[in-house]
């Protein structure tokens, strides 16, 4: 919990509230260990969201892979200024 407060830069009550909601929908699991409460992500619950976004993500991956090709060429041109390309 302290780690999350630090990482997120949110106040502890806010973090608690978020975690409670995430626990209620099964996105995280919690266990008590001594004085600490340990939270664990439940990947299974997040999979539907991942699947939903994946195809959109793939279209960006394809688009930006093409951009890589263009950038490679621009880089070679810039480095090759004044000399011949190999």
């Amino acid at each position: 919990m302290n780690d999350l407060v630090r990482l997120l830069g949110l106040a502890q009550p806010q973090v608690s509230k978020h975690l409670r909601v995430l626990r209620e929908v099964g996105a995280v699991e919690v266990r008590d260990e001594g004085r600490q409460r340990l939270y664990r992500l439940n990947g299974h619950a997040l999979k539907p969201i991942h699947d939903w976004v994946k195809s959109y993500e793939r279209s960006w991956t394809e688009r930006l892979d093409q951009l890589d090709v263009v950038l490679d060429e621009l880089k070679r041109k810039e480095q090759g200024d004044g000399s011949n390309d190999e």
């Binding site: 195809s55 793939r58 960006w60 688009r63 890589d68 880089k75």
Partner: protein, 159 residues
């Protein structure tokens, strides 16, 4: 060709989409590839078709318009206006998919460079969750289109 990995998509809020990708190139070249019509033509459609029109009036208040013909033969157009331009670092612009002209998103492109590599983020801000979800679902349709194209290829190869 250098491959710099895959694009990562996250949903920071209900109205937002965030796309992140790293490139093995300095940021001024990434900026150039985003803002030069002949270069945009070469990558913007990815593998999903051919870019047939790129108009870029690169100044605050200037308009942009991109049109592509998808592999299925249908034409899709996008347009918007530049709101903020910081050369090599940041572009804020509106974006309208012409299929749903009443829905306008606000896109923020940022480029940060470290050791000659550039991290690009595109934050897409929609006006509602419904519009945001519709935008992501359009990617699913694109995915379906791809699947159909592959199916066609396989079918043809079996002839």
């Amino acid at each position: 060709m250098t491959s710099s990995g895959t694009a990562t998509v996250t949903l920071p809020t209900d109205e937002q989409i965030l796309i992140t990708r790293e490139f093995d190139a300095p940021k001024h070249l990434v900026y150039k590839a985003w803002t030069t019509p002949e270069l945009v033509k070469r990558w913007w459609s990815g593998k999903r078709g051919e870019v047939t029109l790129v108009e870029i009036d690169l100044r605050v208040g200037g308009a942009w318009r991109f049109v592509m013909v998808a592999d299925g033969g249908f034409e899709v157009g996008f347009h918007g206006e530049y709101r903020e331009l910081v050369p090599h670092e940041r572009i804020v612009s509106t974006e309208v998919y012409e299929g749903y002209p009443e829905e306008e998103a606000l896109n923020t492109l940022t480029l940060t460079e470290e050791d000659g590599r550039t991290t690009m983020t595109v934050l897409v801000q929609h006006s509602s969750k419904e519009h945001r979800d519709g935008h992501i679902n359009s990617g699913m349709e694109g995915g379906m289109q791809e699947a159909m194209d592959l199916l066609e290829e396989v079918a043809v190869s079996l002839r």
